[in-house]
């Protein structure tokens, strides 16, 4: 993913702060990566290069660690994150059906972010609410019994929300409709 405007500066600033705070022992590599991801939402290449330099280890070691552990993500999370539980109980009652529905609607694969960075889709292991399987975490809120219709419902709610917001920002829905018919 290409960096957005101003993102480069933000990355450099946070990485520096975290390294200054944590110190430069190799043992700190994982906690540093965790903190950087906490701040930035993902691990951009640039951040990993800077961390390698800061801890004085080869960049490939940092890539190695970052790709070894499931927690680290290489692309930015969407404004809204969907995490589909693929724990045993959820899988058995249709967790994969839920993932496929999101993939179909968002036109991305699991692990990816939509190009407008609005939504991202991931799979997670048991979130501990097997009673409500299949479970999806929508921005960390638990949604239980997620059927494909429910997936549509969840996405629709976000769409209406965006439209409302855009309406507020002076761009009325009519205008948008107009633009659509122009296209």
């Amino acid at each position: 993913m290409t960096l957005l405007e101003g993102e480069r500066e933000v990355i450099l600033k946070h990485v520096k702060e975290i390294l200054d705070d944590r110190g430069t022992s190799r043992e700190n590599l994982i906690p540093v990566l965790q903190q950087v991801q906490d701040k930035l939402g993902y691990l951009p290449d640039l951040a990993m290069q800077k961390i390698a330099a800061g801890l004085d280890i080869p960049t490939v070691d940092v890539y190695g660690i970052a790709t070894f552990y499931n927690q680290f993500r290489m692309n930015p999370p969407g404004d809204h994150q969907f995490k589909v539980c693929m724990g045993t109980a959820c899988y058995m009652v249709g967790g994969n059906i839920a993932i496929e529905s999101f993939e179909r609607r968002l036109e991305i694969r699991e692990g990816e972010t939509t190009p407008d960075r609005k939504f991202s889709l991931e799979r997670v292991a048991c979130v501990g609410c097997c009673t409500m399987a299949p479970v999806v975490l929508v921005d960390e809120e638990v949604e239980g019994h997620v059927t494909p219709t429910r997936v549509d419902g969840i996405l629709l709610a976000f769409e209406t929300e965006t439209e409302k917001e855009e309406g507020k920002n002076g761009e009325g829905i009519e205008e948008k409709e107009e633009r659509r018919s122009d296209a």
Partner: protein, 631 residues
């Protein structure tokens, strides 16, 4: 000058804590379960409703958050105690019920019996837990206080004998005595392998070194289990106390709780617990005035299943990739930073205080001769009462599933129980009478493992579940051993082909051979146990493999490539349009005669129409093999 002993200091702490806890009983108290299961079911909204209603009515009632008491199927749970009444527990509380309870019970004196699930104390009016059929089988040691005490307040733990074992150990027991007590208790590690705790501690104690470490393994990698997390969320001090006793025994001053990053609530509860323990001097220097110093830190794991393996866990704490190492040397001799390290599972540590307080004989009196104590399981899947259960070792699977779990819902047939997660196996009906203990399960091809127990019914495909677990281990293999890395991939490819109806009978032999080779050729238990789900399903459910291969049929109608969705014309009501609206790809259309039908070319087999077709028609069915009936 009189020396104040550890036990005296403890007694002082306890008296204070008990006074505080007793003083809470003068007023009505509402306890709400806010472990992850409760939160997911909406416990916070329920709590807010209680707060608001109580405030609106100007009542003097306290509200307290507690952990999980194991009845996850009935979350959100609330326990209401009011002087003059036994405490009542209410299940599936929503905002309406919360309002009603404030109105009727807290403001007036009607406990709304019709909504109460159980009373906590013996009484003449309402059944208690002892009247439940499951009570005859359950025996709570580490879950005893989970769901009843406030995990965010150390005094609640202390008031219930918490840290008494530590005081006793520090004052009355030499490290050797603790080790013989642990050995006598027969406690075996609960992280999967069942290694005797006394032996491990003794090895570490006898390895001379100035610096030693204690590590609690809270990585809990099994993708379908959550008991370690619930223990930490509901009663974190129990684990901390166990670690303290272990540290005193082997002579360690520093410990870590290695917990997965996906468990934010548990992490937060441990942080609070550590802070409070430090504040009153239970962590830090000269604990209880003794020469013993110990402190604990949290290390957040980054989500790799293999990091649950002890040597990989330690590597990852050192900032490296989590790759298992060959043993010996054992952890107890050379572990974290090359120092002697005791590494135990969350539950293992949680048993320690009880064993020290009540003695090895007590612990030994529960369970079987080779597996003493209790086993803790998450009971999930197709079973009526899902949740957390603790039973004496030796309980049979049948008792666990049918008496405690109350069987399979929706009048479906039991098919199998998956036990032990990705390293475990699937056992059929005929094996349900084997007792749950380390050795009997291993004999049947499964393992005790982490304690995840998933019940499967007639709608679950055994080939698909074997494939699911293999896909998991294949992805999580660290790649060090060739057989584990490539062998699992090869097996996965074969299983995938079978679920697509492209398998051959010869594949079954290859699977068997590969399974043996992977077991032999892998260093750690990830590889050594990865074939278990396949071996057990091949052993007990070979007919399902054969149906896929020979007939292109998935008996459970689960494998997508082997099924199609069909609307039975005789059942379809022309008047209803629900299925048409529910289809995400517009595959359902209305035929000329008004009946609905599915365009098989367009259908993505999402299951929506089957779920939405009203039960009075129940017209959508799955067919396997995927052949349309002739009109």
């Amino acid at each position: 000058m009189k020396v104040i002993t550890a036990v005296e200091r403890y007694t002082e702490l306890k008296t204070k804590a008990q006074e505080k806890v007793n003083s809470l009983q003068d007023k009505p108290l509402v306890r709400i379960g806010t472990a992850t299961c409760g939160l997911a079911a909406g416990a916070l909204q329920v709590k807010e409703t209680f707060e608001e209603e109580i405030k609106n009515k100007g009542l003097d009632v306290r509200i307290q958050e507690v952990g999980c008491m194991g009845h996850c199927y009935a979350e959100p749970l609330a326990i209401i105690s009011k002087p003059g009444f036994p405490s009542f527990c209410y299940g599936k509380v929503d905002e309406g019920l919360a309002k009603l309870l404030v109105d009727s019970f807290l403001e007036n004196d009607d406990p709304c019996y019709e909504y109460a699930m159980v009373a906590l104390e013996p009484n003449d009016i309402f059944p208690t837990f002892t009247d439940f059929p499951r009570d005859a089988y359950e025996k709570k040691i580490i879950l005893e206080h989970c769901g009843f005490i406030d995990p965010g307040d150390i005094e609640h733990y202390i008031a219930h004998e918490g840290y008494a074992a530590l005081a006793k150990a520090l004052e009355e027991m030499k490290p050797e005595e603790i080790i013989s007590e642990m050995t006598a208790s027969g406690l075996r590690g609960r992280g999967g392998a069942g290694f005797p705790v006394g032996k491990k501690w003794s090895l570490c104690k006898d390895t001379p070194d100035e610096v030693k470490y204690i590590i609690c393994n809270a990585d809990e990698g099994d993708p379908g289990a959550f008991m370690d997390r619930n223990v930490l969320e509901s009663n974190p001090h129990q684990v901390i106390e166990g670690m303290l006793i272990s540290a005193y025994t082997v002579g360690a001053e520093k410990g870590y709780i290695y917990i997965r990053n996906e468990y934010p609530l548990a992490i937060q509860r441990i942080e609070t617990a550590l802070e409070q323990a430090r504040e009153i001097g239970l962590l830090g220097d000269s604990i209880f005035g003794s020469p013993f110093n110990f402190d604990l830190e949290i290390f957040e794991g980054s989500g790799a299943f293999v990091c649950g393996e002890e040597s990989a866990l330690v590597s990852s704490m050192e900032g490296k990739m989590g790759i298992p190492q060959a043993r010996p040397p054992y952890m107890a001799v050379s572990g974290f930073r090359g120092r002697p390290t005791v590494l135990n599972n969350v539950k293992t540590f949680a048993y320690v205080p009880t064993i020290i307080r009540k003695g090895a004989d007590y612990f030994k009196s529960v369970g079987t001769s080779d597996s003493s104590g209790t086993a803790v399981f998450t009971l999930v899947g197709k079973v009526a009462n899902t949740g957390l259960v603790e039973v004496p070792m030796g309980t049979t699977l049948r008792q666990l599933i049918f008496d405690i779990g109350e069987g399979i819902p929706a009048e479906k047939e039991f098919k199998a129980v998956q036990i032990g997660g990705p390293s475990g196996g699937c056992l059929p009906e005929t094996k349900l009478d084997i007792p749950i203990d380390f050795d009997s399960l291993a004999e049947a091809g499964a393992i005790m493992g982490s304690g995840g127990l998933v019940v499967l019914d007639e709608d679950d495909c055994m080939v698909a579940i074997a494939r699911y677990f293999l896909e998991f281990t294949q992805q999580e293999s660290c790649g060090k051993c060739t057989f584990c890395r490539l062998g699992t991939k090869h097996m996965l490819d074969i299983l995938t082909r079978i679920t697509q109806g492209k398998g051959e009978m010869a594949d079954l032999e290859i699977l068997q051979e590969l399974a043996e080779d992977i077991k032999m050729g892998s260093l750690c238990n990830l590889g050594k146990t990865a074939p278990n789900p396949i071996l057990t399903t091949l052993r007990y459910f070979r007919d399902e493999y054969e149906a896929h291969i020979l007939e292109g049929r998935c008996p459970a109608c689960m494998c997508k490539d082997l099924i199609l969705y069909y609307i039975v014309p005789e059942k379809c009501s022309k008047l209803c349009n629900v299925c048409v609206g529910s289809c995400p790809v517009e595959a359902i259309y209305t035929r000329e005669d008004g009946l609905k039908a599915i365009d098989q070319e367009k259908c993505v087999k999402c299951d929506n129409c089957l779920k939405t077709c009203p039960p009075e028609h129940d017209a959508v069915i799955k067919l396997s093999p995927p052949v349309l009936p002739e009109d």
